[in-house]
């Protein structure tokens, strides 16, 4: 029992430690993951918005710078130039003022000079602009043997060269290098989608270049998630003009990577906690369970000892009581005889009182012997000597033995024919059944009925001894097999204890059912073979 208790204690302790160590880790990690995920999303949105603001600011500054530089060109460079050959002027002024895009345009739209598209000299302008945002123009720019369309942030300024009124237009291209710069600056992928250019304006290896149907996707929600080049991106867009959008995007892999890392760390932590819990449980169980087990054992031992002491005290009390009862009549009879002998010198009265007194003394001495015999039987219960026993025969013998005491009691027997023999000690079984019959006859007090039945049961035998006596209350029934406990006047409380000891030594068991006012039934179950003795 102690070993089982210790094992259970260890299991419960281990489970408790695992629960304490692992569950909080998992719960905390889950909570952290959820909160981090939300935090990352908020952070990503904030970074995207910040990126949009930053790039918008860059574009605003580009326009402001272009305006200032064009003013300088118009007010300082143009008045100093002659009208003879305007063709090289844009390149000359553009270099001086650091304007990569600069053109001088006649009032009729003819290009008089262009830094970024010298081949356009003398030709009509072929550039296009976003009508609702004049600062954004798609300019033809020399590249290779031809020209490509590039988006530029421009400013315009009127001027006079010689006496020819012209329009100065200059600025900077929103090209791959600029977007590469702002992408690095903001830590996002920055791109521009224009309905006037059939490609993304983004740095060369930007995943935005893979977004082929962007124009239809961007215009609506202005934010979302898109898979580009096999990777998921969170993006936000800001309209710069009709059909012109500034887009910033962030790969979700960075946050997913962090979350995944936390998830993996959580699993690792949980595993570590689990291992720690198991280790701690093992050590703690050893440290805690050992004293507890010892304490339980000690406690049980103390209970048993207390029960033994109590039982001995009970036995001493009963023994004293039982001994006291016969002793008093003996003492009284002896004192009566001495007093008569002293008062009657003739001896006649002594002769008359002597038979009664000696009879009383002898009877009480027999009672004393009986008490001593019963205690002696209980203390020196012999070990069973196993042999094949015919239960019906034992029952029949017992009933014949107790027949003289059964006056007024109706005895019924139902002995199962062909009952297989049980392995046991015939004398001990006879005593156990006899005790039950004796108790029943005592309870019936010369009236009612006693039924004794035998039956085959699970390869062995079953013996029912049932009386129609007053029955037992629950508290009486609970203490029925306690040694020295008795409900009979003059009983020793050892009869049923002896029955239980014998049946238990034979590997069987005793059951009792009782209804107050209706009687009590004892059932003995005896196994067919392999007696425990």
């Amino acid at each position: 029992v102690t070993q089982t208790t210790a094992t259970a204690f260890r299991r419960r302790l281990t489970a408790a430690l695992i629960a304490v160590a692992v569950l909080p880790v998992l719960l905390l990690a889950g909570l952290v993951l959820v909160r981090l995920s939300r935090s990352f999303e908020r952070d990503a949105d904030a970074r995207l918005a910040s990126g949009l603001d930053a790039v918008s600011g860059v574009l605003d500054r580009m326009e402001a710078t272009a305006t200032a530089k064009l003013t300088a060109v118009a007010e300082e460079d143009a008045p100093a130039a002659g009208r003879s050959d305007m063709r090289p002027l844009a390149d000359e002024w553009g270099r001086r003022r650091d304007l990569p895009m600069l053109e001088i345009v006649a009032p009729d739209g003819t290009i008089l000079s262009s830094r970024h598209w010298p081949a356009g000299y003398g030709l009509e302008e072929q550039d296009v602009r976003h009508p609702d945002a004049p600062r954004f123009r798609v300019e033809k720019v020399a590249e290779g043997y031809g020209a490509v369309d590039r988006l530029a942030v421009v400013a315009e300024h009127g001027a006079t060269i010689g006496d020819v009124p012209v329009l100065l237009r200059g600025g900077r291209f929103v090209d791959e290098s600029l977007l590469d710069e702002v992408s690095r600056l903001t830590g996002t992928e920055v791109g521009i989608s224009s309905r006037l250019i059939d490609r993304w304006i983004a740095r060369p290896r930007s995943p935005l270049n893979q977004w082929h149907d962007a124009r239809s996707a961007i215009g609506g929600p202005l934010e979302g998630v898109e898979t580009l080049a096999g990777e998921s991106f969170r993006w936000q867009a800001r309209p710069l003009a009709e059909g012109l959008y500034l887009v910033v995007a962030l790969p979700r892999s960075s946050t997913a990577g962090v979350l995944g890392g936390i998830g993996r760390a959580t699993i690792l932590a949980a595993l570590v906690a689990l291992a720690g819990a198991l280790l701690a449980a093992s050590r703690l169980a050893r440290r805690i369970a050992a004293p507890v087990t010892e304490e339980l054992a000690e406690s049980r031992e103390r209970v048993l000892q207390a029960e033994r002491v109590a039982a001995w005290r009970e036995m001493a009390r009963r023994l004293a009581h039982e001994l006291k009862n016969p002793i008093f009549p003996i003492q009284l009879s002896v004192e009566t005889l001495r007093r008569v002998a002293e008062e009657d010198a003739s001896g006649r009265r002594l002769a008359e009182a002597f038979p009664d007194a000696s009879t009383t003394i002898l009877e009480e001495l027999r009672a004393l012997r009986k008490i001593v015999d019963e205690f002696s039987q209980f203390a020196r219960m012999p070990a069973p000597t196993p042999a094949a026993v015919d239960v019906n025969e034992v029952v029949d013998q017992v009933l014949r033995l107790y027949e003289p005491r059964s006056t007024g009691v109706q005895i019924r027997t139902e002995l199962a024919p062909g009952l297989p023999p049980v392995t046991g000690d015939r004398d001990l079984l006879s005593r156990a059944i006899g005790n039950l019959v004796s108790n029943a006859l005592d309870a019936l007090e010369g009236r009612g009925s006693l039924s004794v039945r035998t039956a085959a049961h699970d390869g062995g035998a079953r013996i029912d001894v049932e009386d129609t006596g007053p029955g037992l209350r629950d508290e009486q029934r609970a203490r029925l097999f306690t040694p020295y406990y008795t409900t009979k006047r003059g009983g020793t409380g050892l009869g049923l204890a002896i029955v239980q000891g014998i049946v238990s030594d034979h590997g069987g068991r005793v059951e009792v059912t009782s209804t107050p006012g209706r009687g009590t039934a004892f059932t003995l179950y005896l196994p067919g073979d392999n007696p425990r003795s």
Binding site: W117, G120, Y121, E124, A142, G144, Y145, G146
Partner: protein
């Protein structure tokens, strides 16, 4: 301006021992930058200025064409024509770079290789050659099917250069390796060159150009900026081709984008053929559709961009890209090339040009050129050549834009650099002045 191999940077690397006023002097070395050089030195058609320059440094031909258009002896000491036989005599004592004497066997072997080559001059000559043999160690007899003009001139083509049995050339400079080492190639003077030792000691060729900016530009109008229009697809009609032709203003290009160039009315540069002025064409038709424009390697980038812009302005959607020398006009598209004839002879030059156009479009031209080749009278031959040139222009398949210089840029101090009528830059007479 660095515009492919047409502009060659000549960079003075050592101080000159003399002054221009005192005339040339020996010594010194210069560095030139070329966009690319051939993988080897086997004589072959030279389609770019760089290839022509390098070929002229390493190789020598039997004859050259003088500025007046007449053949001039080079490795050949002289020649005689008897009926259908052309007998060429070699200079006694002439040597290859490997020290072996130049013999008639070397000439026969070299000319056989030339006639099998892809040279336009060889393509014209080979069908008419019926015999080629060494008469003795210093005489070679070339027999043709009929006496015709141009046979001797064809032998001035770079691909007709002489080589020894071991492949050595006979030009004024000797390459020190068979191919560039890394990005460099060095050539040293050949003391036994047929016209004497070059003034320069050595020439360093840097492949991919020179990092030293040249400071002077010179040159002559020895090439033609041409539009070669493929008469198929969207340009099948002559109106469409006229739209292309009319969009590109040669005078504008010459004035604003190619210094030294001039508007051209003739397919041949004026140094080869003085053609009568061409009357202005009718206002160009409006173009439409997408047009592929391939720009040849000797065309300055700014010129290519301007032509693309002009075509765009005329209504075409232009997709411009670079072309290799051997590329033809894209289907239904246009090739813009700076063309220099392989041989500075008008008949051979027109034959070379005719090969750029579809045969069906040039059958009349070839008839005229055949007639010119057979014509013994020089004046009548000149008239036939002019008619052939006009016929070649008529279909708006070959469109002359401008007569352009085959120029080079050199640092001040490099003297004596000349360009022959075939656009070959000659450095054997160059020297270094302070």
């Amino acid at each position: 301006v660095r515009n492919s191999a047409a502009v060659i940077a000549l960079v003075l690397a050592l101080p000159s021992p003399g002054s221009p006023a005192l005339g040339p002097s020996y010594g010194g070395r210069i560095e030139i930058g070329l966009d690319a050089v051939p993988a080897g030195f086997v004589p072959a058609p030279a389609r770019t200025a760089g290839a022509r320059l390098l070929s002229g440094l390493v190789h020598e031909t039997l004859v050259t064409v003088s500025p007046d258009g007449a053949p001039s002896p080079a490795l050949a000491a002289g020649w005689s024509v008897t009926g259908r036989e052309l007998t060429i005599g070699l200079r006694p004592g002439a040597l290859f770079h490997d020290g072996t004497p130049i013999t008639s066997a070397d000439v026969v072997r070299s000319l056989q290789r030339f006639l099998r080559s892809t040279s336009p001059a060889a393509a014209w000559l080979a069908p008419h050659v019926t015999g080629l043999a060494a008469a003795d160690p210093l005489r070679v007899v070339l027999t043709v099917d009929e006496n015709r003009h141009g046979v001797l001139e064809a032998l001035a083509a770079p691909a007709a250069a002489m080589t020894s049995a071991r492949g050595a050339g006979a030009g004024p400079f000797v390459p020190t390796t068979n191919a560039p080492v890394g990005q460099r190639l060095t050539l040293v003077h050949f003391a036994h060159h047929v016209r004497g030792r070059p003034f320069l000691d050595a020439i360093d060729v840097r492949v991919g150009g020179s990092d030293v900016q040249p400071s002077a530009t010179t040159g002559a109008r020895l090439g033609t900026l041409l539009l070669v229009i493929d008469p198929h697809g969207g340009l099948a009609s002559e109106d469409a081709r006229r739209a292309v032709r009319g969009a590109v203003d040669g005078a504008d290009l010459a004035r604003n984008f190619w210094p030294g160039a001039a508007a051209a009315g003739s397919l041949l540069p004026p140094a080869i053929l003085l053609a009568p002025p061409v009357p202005p064409s009718a206002p160009p038709a409006r173009g439409s559709g997408t047009l592929a424009l391939r720009v040849g390697p000797d065309v300055p980038v700014a010129v290519g961009q301007r032509v693309a812009a002009l075509l765009g302005s005329a209504g075409f959607t232009v997709r411009a890209s670079a072309a290799r020398p051997e590329d033809v006009a894209p289907a239904g598209g246009v090739r813009l090339i700076a063309w220099t004839p392989e041989v500075a002879d008008p008949l051979l030059a027109l034959e070379e040009l005719a090969a750029l156009a579809p045969a069906a479009a040039t059958s009349a031209v070839r008839d005229l050129l055949n007639a010119a080749a057979r014509e013994p009278d020089a004046d009548r031959r000149h008239v036939l050549i002019l008619r052939a040139e006009a016929a070649l222009r008529a279909g708006s398949i070959l469109v002359p834009i401008a007569a352009v210089p085959v120029g080079f840029q050199a640092r001040a101090g490099v003297q004596g650099v000349t360009v022959d009528e075939a656009g070959r830059i000659r450095l054997e007479d160059a020297w270094i002045a302070p």
